[in-house]
C-alpha cells in the first residue's frame, strides 16, 4: 500500500514536471536550412521534444550565412525562448550574441559545430578530428599502399571542417600518403561545384590514389557524382581508387548500395538533435551538463547498409 502511494506520488510529480516543461520553447538553429544534413537534426529535435513535453522551434538562415544566423539568434532572444542550440557557421561572429543570450538568462549550447571561445554552456556533436582520422583509417584499409590523395572542404572558415582535415592529414600523411597540388578544394556548400571539383581532381591527376572529401556535398548532386565515378569506374573496379565518403544521409546510403561508394563514415545528426533538447531542458531546470558531449560515428559498408537504409 505504502509503495503504491509512493508510486502514485512519483507519477504525479513526473506528470506535473512534464506539464511545467510543456511551456518550454527551445530553438534549434542550423547553419543553413537548405542543408539536408540538418533535416535529421530537426527530426531528432522534434521527436525528443514530444517525448520531453517541450517545443522545438527549428529555424536558421535559408542558406549557410553567418550574419543572418546571428540575426536569427537575436530574434530568438527578443522572443524570450527558454533555450537555444546553435550549429555555428562562423565561430567568431557568434561570440557576442551568445553572451547576449546568456545575459538574458537563456541557456545556450552548440551542436554539430562549436564555438569554444564563447560562453556557451555545452557542445554536443561529432569529434571532428576523430572523424577525419576515421576517414583516413578507412581509406588505408581499402588501399594499404600509400599513394596520392586530394580532399575537398566546404570553406576555409569552419572550425569543424578544419578539425576534420587535420585528423585526415594526421592519419594519411603519417602513413606516407602525399597530397596533390590544389587540395583541399573549397566548394562553398555548392553541390554542383563540388561535383565539378572532384572531376577536375581526377582529370588533373590521372594516377591519383584517392579523392576523399570531408563532407558529402558532391553526393547531394547524385547524378553528377555518379557520372564522375563512372568516368573512373575502371580504376574503382580494379581497387585502385577506393571511394571513402563522409556522412550517411539517405542519398549517400543509396550511393553506397549502388556501388558508387565503398565506405561511408557517418555522423549522427539525429542524435545531436535529440541530445540538444535533453541538455537544454536540464540546463533550464538548473541541472549541470558536461561541457563536451561527443556523439559517435557510424561506419557503413556494403555489409551493413541494409540496417541503415531500412
Amino acid at each position: 500500500m505504502k509503495s503504491l502511494l509512493l508510486a502514485a506520488c512519483a507519477a504525479v510529480a513526473l506528470m506535473s514536471s512534464a506539464q511545467a516543461a510543456e511551456n518550454y520553447k527551445f530553438a534549434l538553429i542550423p547553419k543553413g536550412m537548405d542543408n539536408p544534413y540538418f533535416d535529421l537534426s530537426r527530426d531528432g529535435c522534434m521527436e525528443e521534444a514530444k517525448t520531453l513535453g517541450v517545443t522545438c522551434i527549428y529555424k536558421g538562415p535559408a542558406t549557410h550565412e553567418p550574419a543572418t544566423e546571428v540575426q536569427i539568434m537575436q530574434d530568438f532572444i527578443s522572443q524570450g525562448v527558454d533555450g537555444i542550440a546553435i550549429s555555428v557557421a562562423d565561430a567568431d561572429s557568434v561570440i557576442g550574441v551568445i553572451k547576449q543570450a546568456r545575459d538574458a538568462n537563456i541557456p545556450v549550447i552548440t551542436f554539430d559545430a562549436d564555438a569554444d571561445q564563447s560562453v556557451r554552456q555545452a557542445y554536443v556533436g561529432t569529434d571532428n578530428k576523430e572523424m577525419g582520422r576515421e576517414l583516413g583509417r578507412q581509406l588505408i584499409k581499402a588501399h594499404p599502399q600509400p599513394s596520392t590523395f586530394a580532399t575537398q572542404s566546404g570553406g576555409p572558415a569552419a572550425s569543424n571542417l578544419n578539425d576534420r582535415l587535420a585528423g585526415l592529414y594526421e592519419v594519411l600523411k603519417g602513413a606516407g600518403w602525399t597530397e596533390v597540388k590544389g587540395s583541399p578544394a573549397f566548394c562553398n556548400d555548392d553541390s554542383a561545384l563540388a561535383a565539378q571539383q572532384l572531376s577536375d581532381f581526377a582529370t588533373a591527376n590521372p594516377d591519383i590514389g584517392a579523392i576523399i572529401p570531408i563532407g558529402g556535398w558532391a553526393l547531394f548532386a547524385p547524378k553528377a557524382y555518379r557520372n564522375y565515378v563512372d568516368a573512373n569506374m575502371d580504376k574503382v573496379k580494379a581497387g585502385k581508387f577506393p571511394l571513402v565518403m563522409p556522412d550517411t544521409l539517405p542519398v549517400e546510403l543509396e550511393t553506397l548500395r549502388d556501388g558508387y561508394a565503398q565506405v561511408l563514415v557517418g555522423q549522427r545528426p539525429h542524435e545531436m538533435g535529440q541530445k540538444a533538447m535533453q541538455m537544454l531542458l536540464a540546463l533550464k531546470k538548473g541541472e549541470k551538463v558536461p561541457v563536451s558531449n561527443v556523439v559517435g560515428l557510424d561506419v557503413v559498408t556494403k555489409d551493413n547498409v541494409g540496417n541503415f537504409l531500412k
Binding site: G32, D34, C187, S191, A192, A204, P206
Partner: protein, 344 residues
C-alpha cells in the same frame, strides 16, 4: 591615310579606319575570342589533361548552363536593361519542374508515355515566361527601373524556392525520368546536349537579331529609345519580349542543371546572375545598350569556365577564379575603351 587631317569639317565616322578598327579587330567580341583562344592554348600547354576527351566534355557542359542564360541576358542588355533575377529564376523553375514531375508520377498522367515529363517541363518554362512577363510589364509599362524590378524579382523567386522546398533539395522522379535525363544531360552527335542547346539557340538568336524586324528593334531600343518610339517602334512590346525570353532561357538552364545533378537543391545557381552578366559583358554586350550578340555571350561564358577549369587543373586555390574573372571583366571593357577612344 586621312587620319592626320585636322580639317574641322571632316567627319570622324566616315574617314578611313585604322588597321585595328577593321572588321577582324573591330569588336570586343573579336578580341575576347582571341583572348579565349590564347588562354585555352596556355591552359592546354601547361595542363596537358585539359584537352582530354573527358575534361572537354565536362567543361563544355559546365559552361553551357551559364551560356544559355547569357544569351537571354545579352538580349536584355542590348535594349539597355538588366536582369538580376536570372539565378533565382533558374532555381525556382528547376524546383517547380521536379516537383510537378514527381506529383504527376502518381496520377493518371503517368499512363501516357512522356506526358508527365513534358507537362513538367512546359509548366517550368511557362512559369519562367510568367516571371519574365511580370518583369517586362513593370519595366516597360509601369516604367520601373530594370535594376530595381529584377532585384525585387531575384528576392521573390529565391524566397519562393525556399518556401516551396523548405530548403530541401528536390529530385526528379517518375516513370520516364531516364528520358528526362537523356534530353537534359545526354549526348547528341557525341556532344553533351546542353552544348547542343547553346549552339542551336545562339544560331537562332544570331539570325533573328540580324535578319528580322524584331531583331533590329532590339538594337534600336538600346541605341536610342526615344528615337525608336518616335519612328513608331512598339517599344514596350519589344521590351516585354526580351525579358520573357531572358527568363525562359534561365528556366531552361535551371531544368538542364536539375537533369545534370539529378537533384534541384534550393541553393541552385545562387549568385549566378553575376556570372551570367559577366559572361555577357566580357563577350562585348554594353550595359549602356545597343551593342552585343550571341557569339560574345557564348565566348564570355566559355572564357569564365576555362579559367575555372584551368586553375583547378593547375592545382591553384579555388578562390582565385573570382579574382581572375573580375580582372578579365575590367580588362575587356578597358581595352574596348582604349580602342574606341578617338585620337586627340
Amino acid at each position: 591615310m586621312s587620319d592626320s587631317v585636322a580639317d574641322p569639317l571632316s567627319f570622324s565616322n566616315v574617314r578611313e579606319r585604322r588597321w585595328y578598327k577593321h572588321s577582324g579587330f573591330s569588336s570586343q567580341t573579336a578580341y575576347v575570342a582571341t583572348a579565349f583562344v590564347a588562354i585555352a592554348a596556355l591552359v592546354a600547354i601547361f595542363a596537358p589533361h585539359f584537352l582530354s576527351t573527358g575534361n572537354l566534355l565536362n567543361t563544355s557542359k559546365n559552361f553551357s548552363y551559364i551560356a544559355i542564360v547569357a544569351l537571354g541576358s545579352t538580349l536584355v542588355i542590348i535594349t539597355g536593361g538588366i536582369d538580376l533575377s536570372v539565378g533565382s529564376t533558374m532555381a525556382l523553375v528547376a524546383v517547380v519542374t521536379t516537383i510537378v514531375m514527381k506529383a504527376l508520377a502518381g496520377t493518371a498522367v503517368a499512363a501516357v508515355p512522356y506526358l508527365g515529363i513534358t507537362l513538367a517541363v512546359v509548366c517550368g518554362l511557362g512559369l519562367a515566361a510568367f516571371i519574365g512577363l511580370i518583369n517586362g510589364l513593370l519595366i516597360a509599362k509601369v516604367r520601373l527601373s530594370p535594376f530595381v524590378t529584377t532585384l525585387g524579382m531575384l528576392s521573390i523567386c529565391r524566397g519562393a524556392t525556399y518556401v516551396i522546398t523548405q530548403g530541401r533539395g528536390q529530385a526528379p522522379g517518375g516513370p520516364q525520368v531516364n528520358t528526362f535525363y537523356a534530353v537534359t544531360d545526354g549526348r547528341l552527335f557525341g556532344l553533351p546536349v546542353a552544348l547542343v542547346y547553346v549552339l542551336v539557340l545562339a544560331l537562332i538568336m544570331g539570325v533573328v537579331l540580324r535578319h528580322t524586324r524584331w531583331g533590329r528593334y532590339v538594337f534600336v531600343l538600346g541605341g536610342n529609345e526615344r528615337a525608336a518610339k518616335l519612328t513608331g517602334v512598339s517599344v514596350s512590346r519589344v521590351k516585354i519580349s526580351v525579358y520573357v525570353l531572358c527568363a525562359m532561357s534561365a528556366g531552361l538552364a535551371g531544368i538542364l542543371i536539375a537533369g545534370w545533378l539529378g537533384s534541384a537543391p534550393a541553393n541552385l545557381a545562387l549568385g549566378y546572375e553575376l556570372k551570367i552578366i559577366a559572361a555577357s559583358v566580357i563577350g562585348g554586350a554594353d550595359l549602356a545598350g545597343g551593342v552585343g550578340g550571341p557569339v560574345g555571350a557564348v565566348i564570355g561564358a566559355a572564357l569564365i569556365e576555362v579559367i575555372r577549369n584551368g586553375l583547378a587543373l593547375f592545382g591553384a586555390d579555388t578562390y582565385w577564379e573570382q579574382v581572375f574573372v573580375g580582372t578579365i571583366i575590367i580588362l575587356a571593357v578597358l581595352v574596348d575603351r582604349l580602342r574606341s577612344r578617338e585620337p586627340e
